[in-house]
């Protein structure tokens, strides 16, 4: 591990001074990136903070979204890094693994020689900015925010320095998933995880991002951006397991671009964060493509999980299907705001969007804002939202067999989630999701 300045100076806080400081520390970055960062830092400072008056932040508790008190995450102590490496072991059958702690690469499992020979690139951005600058210059932060978090995208662009570049050349199929673990450590630490997956024509890949915290109770900021490009005929599966600690604030923007005949499956899991804001923009750019977008959330205590989605259909004969399920305990709150936009030329579109909420407490609050905007005339679209409680008859039946109330609730939450869990073909990955859900429900 490289050693860096470890003094905690005021200039580490996410205020005016931090950026110059950041640039001096990262003189290795290519010129195009420095320029991009400079522009974004200016934008970040100029853009307004979220306010509830903005349509894109309706219902959100924006008071908790200030980021000024956070500072750039500091390098980890060796033993902290070691313990995080040990905790990055849940998936055994993978084609490659990157482990980041406070935005530094802690460890990696490289690709096989075979995959390398086929031209697959799986690199931490800290190396990729130097070695694959031309790819990144074209694709890094090339998509604009569409759902309200422009300011946080700008902050991310300015202060990001690591993450994953995964490039899969034409016709290359990778069977086992690749995974990146992103860990945050330290009080008031800010991390900026980035993911860029480029799957070229007829390639096939599964990529997994796992987000977690070193310790339970120090407040951290995670401001991440992920972009997936599915080229013509490509099959891309993406898992996003968000398990930051429950004192943390997290932003994540996922943009997915589907080209002709591509197939995309995205599975999100929200477990952690005090306040999580996820934006998912799926851009259907090619005919014949198919995107399936799933999300599971277990919210408890006073967590707020705010998810905004946009399915943009710009090409004909394509399909997208979104299903987001939230289980809410205690006084937790979820927001789902989803829009399907079908452009005039996107005839024969099939687009669906469903949000279902299971309220496990009378004090929990599930907000749902489904929407459609259709300019084409020959489409099949539907949207729906439903919020319900545990069925008394089901609960009584379980209790009457000796099962405790908490255990019965866990069974019924899994029953509610099963519709999505059963769609995961990789058993180990499905088990990983189940385990995190189980842990959270057990510890409530």
């Amino acid at each position: 591990m490289q050693s860096m300045i470890t003094v905690k100076s005021d200039s580490e806080f996410l205020s005016e001074a931090v950026f110059d400081h950041f640039l001096t520390r990262h003189s290795e970055l290519p010129q195009w990136l420095v320029k991009l960062k400079q522009q974004n830092w200016v934008d970040y400072l100029a853009l307004p903070a979220p306010s509830r008056k903005m349509e894109t932040w309706r219902f959100a508790n924006v008071k908790g979204l200030g980021v000024d008190t956070f500072r750039l995450a500091q390098p980890l102590a060796v033993e902290e890094g070691q313990s995080l490496i040990e905790r990055s072991n849940r998936l055994k059958n993978t084609s490659g693994k990157l482990i980041f702690g406070n935005d530094d690469l802690l460890a990696e499992e490289e690709l096989s020689e075979d995959l390398k020979a086929k031209g697959v690139i799986f690199e931490p951005l800290e190396r990729a900015f130097a070695q694959h600058s031309e790819i990144l210059e074209e694709f890094f932060m090339a998509q604009e925010s569409a759902l309200g978090s422009e300011k946080f995208a700008a902050l991310h662009t300015a202060l990001n320095r690591n993450g994953t570049l995964l490039f899969v050349p034409e016709n290359v199929e990778i069977d086992l998933p690749l995974v990146s673990y992103h860990w945050a450590q330290g009080s008031e630490s800010a991390v900026f995880p980035h993911t860029l997956v480029i799957a070229k024509d007829n390639s096939k890949v599964t990529f997994v991002d796992v987000y977690g915290a070193h310790e339970k109770d120090s407040s951290q900021l995670a401001c991440g951006v992920s972009t997936l490009y599915a080229g013509p005929g490509a099959q891309v599966e993406y898992h996003y397991l968000q398990n930051w600690n429950e004192a943390s604030l997290s932003f994540n923007q996922l943009t997915t671009i589907a080209q002709r005949d591509s197939n995309i499956r995205a599975f999100g899991l929200n477990i952690g964060s005090k306040h999580a804001r996820n934006e998912g923009h799926t851009i259907i750019d090619g005919p014949g493509s198919n995107a399936e977008l799933f999300s599971l959330t277990v919210a408890h205590k006073d967590q707020e999980i705010d998810q905004r989605t946009l399915q943009s259909h710009n090409a004909a004969n394509a399909r997208s299907n979104l299903l987001f399920k939230n289980a809410l305990q205690d006084t937790s709150k979820t927001i789902f705001s989803g829009l399907i936009k079908v452009a005039e030329e996107a005839q024969q579109t099939d687009a669906y969007q469903t949000n279902r909420n299971l309220l496990l407490s009378p004090l929990a609050e599930a907000n749902s804002l489904p929407g459609l905007e259709i300019l084409a005339n020959d489409v099949k679209c539907s949207h729906g939202a439903a919020t319900g409680q545990i069925d008394d008859n089901e609960l009584f039946y379980l209790l009457s067999r000796g099962i405790s109330k908490p255990a019965a609730q866990i069974l019924l939450v899994f029953a509610f989630f099963e519709e999505i869990l059963e769609k995961m073909e990789n058993e180990e990955l499905a088990e990983f999701h189940r385990e995190l859900i189980h842990q959270k429900l057990e510890n409530n």
Binding site: D391, N393, E394, F396, Y397, L398, L399, S400, R401, G402, I403, S404, K405, A407, A408, L411, L412, F414, A415, F416, F417, E418, E419
Partner: protein
């Protein structure tokens, strides 16, 4: 005493008194049957015993081997050995039979311990075989889309896996074809033994040909009005319930 003892039970549902001073003793080792016209309160008795919250116990007692049943939570009653095969079992989409029964068995383990998965499946499959239930049912959601007879068989499967001390079977025979009836009856007879009391609620003497009861009770308007040996069931089959009613009014 080693028995399920119900004394002077009064139960109200929705403000309406359904059980009116019902008393009944089911000793361990015996099989009793309850017969009675529709609406006489048979299912009410069963559900009040397992603790459905809609059934309000106004007065009376129920004990299992001396332990006060009404003092226990619903799940505790089950863990203490009480089992009801429901007349209309609930459907639970998304929870498989295998996971459901396993959770019920885990609930009986010491805290933090789970049943051994391999041994569990071995037991489950052998009980399923006895009850002629196809193995693919293990991965089906509890009762979802099951035929009436499949639901009943699944109740008996749960009973044979949980091995309760006191079993109440609420019309487990209704909706069964003759082959299924024999299979279920075999399943129940297999569980019969000196450490278990079984209470069979039924409308048909037919079942009692296969599971021969030690005692038969007639229920009428919320109480047991007549008890006797298995011949009482034949009498009911032949004469209906009117004569019981007449005997009752005559004796008042």
């Amino acid at each position: 005493m080693n028995a399920l003892e119900i004394k002077n039970l009064h139960v109200t549902i929705d403000g309406q008194q359904i059980l009116k001073d019902l008393s009944l003793t089911l000793p361990k080792g015996e099989v009793h049957a309850i017969m009675g016209p529709n609406g006489s309160g048979k299912s009410t008795l069963a559900k009040a015993l397992v603790g459905h919250e809609d059934y309000i116990v106004d007065s009376g007692t129920a004990t299992m081997d001396g332990k006060d049943i009404f003092d226990m939570e619903v799940n505790e009653r089950s863990r203490e050995g009480l089992f009801l095969a429901f007349q209309y079992p609930a459907e639970i989409p998304g929870v498989t039979i295998a996971n459901f029964i396993r959770a019920a068995l885990n609930a009986r383990q010491p805290k933090g311990e789970d049943v051994d998965a391999v041994a569990y499946y071995k037991d489950l499959y052998s009980e399923m075989e006895r009850l002629d239930i196809d193995r693919k049912f293990t991965s089906r959601s509890v009762n979802e889309g099951f035929s009436g007879g499949e639901k009943k068989r699944c109740e008996i499967l749960q009973m044979s896996m949980l091995k309760p001390d006191y079993c109440i079977l609420d019309e487990t025979d209704s909706g069964l074809d003759i082959d299924a009836l024999k299979i279920v009856a075999d399943g129940v007879n297999h569980m019969r033994g000196k450490d278990r009391g079984i209470l069979i609620i039924t409308h048909y003497q037919r079942l009692l040909n296969y599971i021969v009861p030690d005692r038969v009770h007639i229920m009428w308007d919320g109480r047991i009005v007549k008890s006797g040996d298995k011949s009482l069931a034949f009498e009911v089959e032949e004469r209906g319930y009117d004569w019981v009613k007449q005997e009752q009014t005559a004796s008042v």
